[in-house]
């Protein structure tokens, strides 16, 4: 029995799976056709390499000050210091490279936390429905109406300033979107035949959720996670910029921008490079997320 084959030239990968071809390969083929997504992935690989190999790549120690060189003001880019230095004489390129570690890890961990909370809430609301669902959704609505940046800053000011607390604070206020997504998925899948069939043979709630309902939400969750990382990086940089996230001397790109404020009128490199990295990271995650969304959706045709 062959599955009907919808081979259309240059478009979605053909639906008939040859023996041994996994679903992931199909998704990959779709993804490959998204030029922007590929570009995004490449940029992300570069940024990751920057973060992982920072000790090897950075020409100087990011915390090494050279006040004699800087004389209290940031110095412009030269051959020795391609990104210039800050007012303490610390090489900016090294600081930017090391900043990747902090910014990227905050992005990932925050999204991890928000995924855990969001999936939990979404599963409870979507599977059990009824009063649990409406109560949870009211809570979600209320939390969504809070000015998130303000509340995150508030929470951060209560806790001791540390990287993990920042991650926690961001994660605590970004799980709501994930919860809604998971709940929506569950609600739409609940009446599908395979779910009813599983229920008929007596599958219990835990197994049902883990083996049947959640896997169908994986696609949506992956896209949400990718875009969530982009948003978390932006939030972290905003927080650090205002002084409520990562504290100096630990440098994330956002906190570098914060220290840039004093010299922003005269030294363009102080604001330019960290911000460029933030923009590239967020852009790439957005591209990849967009590409993933298009390639995971079987109904969408890529031109």
């Amino acid at each position: 029995m062959t599955i009907t084959d919808t081979k259309t030239k240059g478009q979605v990968a053909p639906l008939n799976k040859a023996k041994g071809e996994s679903q992931w390969l199909l998704i990959w083929r779709n993804f490959r056709q998204h030029k922007l997504a590929i570009l995004g992935s490449v940029i992300l690989l570069v940024l990751f390499a920057m973060a992982i190999f920072a000790p090897v790549l950075a020409p100087y120690d990011p915390d090494e000050m050279d006040i004699k060189y800087s004389r209290g003001a940031p110095q412009p880019p030269t051959i020795e210091h391609p990104f210039g230095t800050d007012e303490f004489g610390r090489d900016y390129m090294s600081r930017t490279i090391y900043g990747a570690q902090i910014s990227l890890s905050v992005g990932f961990v925050s999204v991890g936390i928000s995924l855990v909370l969001g999936i939990l809430a979404g599963v409870l609301a979507g599977y059990f429905g009824g009063h649990i669902d409406s109560t949870l959704m009211r809570i979600v609505d209320v939390l969504l109406s809070l000015p998130s940046l303000l509340v995150i800053m508030m929470v951060n000011s209560y806790l001791e300033p540390s990287i993990f607390n920042t991650m926690l604070a961001i994660g605590l206020f970004s799980w709501m979107g994930v919860a809604r997504l998971v709940r929506g998925q569950f609600l739409s899948i609940r009446e599908e035949e395979f779910v009813l069939a599983a229920r008929c043979i007596g599958v219990g709630p835990v197994r049902m959720i883990l083996r049947h309902l959640l896997p169908s939400s994986m696609a949506v969750l992956t896209v949400a996670a990718t875009i969530g990382i982009a948003s978390a990086i932006l939030t972290e940089s905003g927080l650090s910029f205002l002084g409520f996230g990562i504290q100096p001397p630990t440098s994330s790109w956002g906190s570098m921008l914060q220290s840039a404020q004093t010299f922003m009128r005269t030294s363009w490199w102080i604001s330019f490079f960290p911000g460029l990295c933030i923009a590239l990271a967020v852009l790439s995650f957005n591209f990849v997320g967009d590409g993933l969304r298009d390639s995971l959706d079987p109904k969408l045709r890529h031109r």
């Binding site: 922007l36 009211r138 809570i139 609505d141 209320v142 109406s145 809070l146 000015p147 940046l149 303000l150 509340v151 800053m153 508030m154 929470v155 000011s157 209560y158 982009a230 932006l234 940089s237 905003g238 910029f241 205002l242 002084g243 409520f244 956002g254 921008l257 840039a260 404020q261 922003m264 009128r265 005269t266 363009w268 604001s271 330019f272 960290p274 911000g275 933030i278 923009a279 967020v282 852009l283 957005n286 591209f287 031109r303």
Partner: protein
């Protein structure tokens, strides 16, 4: 219709209560004994004085009672007093609210003025160079941290070219001539407005594009064309009207969020608004102000959602029979 309205209003009340509880809890979680704020932090404190102050503030009552008393005061408009300035919180907020509102409205307006044409043309000329470029710019607009753009703009226009001011809503001393004042205001507004509106400009352009694309494929558009109407009429009288509804709703819903204060933008440009007040209050641990702004902002967002739902029900009959 009235039943729908009543239903929605009733639904909102527990959410408002929940928000007030959340605000109260968040404020009480703040480290430090509130009573100490009224005393000189340097001098040693006699326990009797401390107990007296606590009693006068009602801090010796159990927490739920404190909450009820606090709620009663809030409903009468008393949001407490700032720790730093001893001025009522409500007064502090309302003194700065006009500036924030003006900036927020300006940003929303600018975003709409840019997003609607760009999105429309992108949809009409799908896959063209314009579409490609505008998609790219939309992505850039959403991804670039807007304060970074702000810093770069300040570098270019203030540091290098010196043609725009970096601080505040108007120059000191303000020019006397009405026209000069207007131009001066404009100069002060333009950078913060662009920075604040950047993200919404980008995402609304994308939104308008996909919305119009969806509308154009509808049958009634095909009917209109089949009737022989020229393309412009089809576009203006039928397509755009329907495509704009969700976008306008989105725009309306984003305004109350801006009233909570554009913290980052106001900080960079030293804009005397609610956002900068909030950031200062956070630096100085002035909790009554922070709490007041949080409460006000969240309540406004909820109320705006309610209003939007009601308006939607008035406009679109399908929504009412939910």
């Amino acid at each position: 219709m009235t039943r729908y309205v009543i239903q929605r209003v009733v639904q909102i009340i527990p959410m408002l209560i929940l928000i007030s509880i959340l605000s109260f809890v968040l404020m009480r979680l703040a480290p430090g004994d509130p009573a100490r704020f009224f005393l000189d932090p340097e001098k040693a404190v006699e326990p009797e004085k401390l107990a007296n102050i606590r009693r006068s503030l009602g801090l010796d009552q159990p927490v739920p009672i404190q909450y009820i008393r606090w709620l009663g005061r809030v409903l009468q408009g008393d949001l407490g007093y700032s720790f730093r300035s001893r001025v009522p919180v409500a007064e502090e907020i309302f003194a700065r609210l006009p500036n924030t509102v003006k900036l927020g409205l300006a940003a929303t307006l600018l975003s709409l003025i840019v997003a609607i044409p760009v999105g429309t043309i992108s949809a009409l000329k799908q896959y063209s160079i314009f579409d490609y470029l505008s998609t790219l710019f939309a992505f850039l607009g959403i991804s670039m941290p807007n304060f970074w753009i702000g810093l770069l703009l300040i570098y270019i226009f203030v540091g290098q070219l010196g043609i725009l001011p970096a601080v505040g809503t108007e120059s000191i001393p303000a020019p006397t001539d009405a026209w000069a004042r207007f131009v001066d205001s404009l100069k002060h507004y333009i950078m913060p407005t662009v920075v604040l509106g950047m993200q919404s400009m980008a995402s609304w352009a994308r939104y308008q594009r996909s919305s119009l694309l969806e509308v154009i494929r509808q049958d009634y558009i095909r009917t209109a064309r089949a009737k022989g109407l020229c393309e412009t009429t089809v576009l203006l009288r039928h397509a755009l009207r329907n495509a704009l509804i969700p976008l306008i709703t989105l725009a309306m819903l984003s305004v109350p969020r801006l009233l909570g204060g554009a913290f980052i933008t106001e900080s960079i440009f030293s804009w005397p608004g609610v956002g900068r007040l909030a950031v200062h209050a956070l630096y100085t641990r002035d909790y009554p102000i922070i709490q007041g702004i949080t409460l006000m902002s969240a309540a406004l967002v909820l109320l705006a959602n309610l209003l939007a739902d009601i308006l939607y029900a008035m406009v679109d009959p399908r929504v009412r029979y939910d």
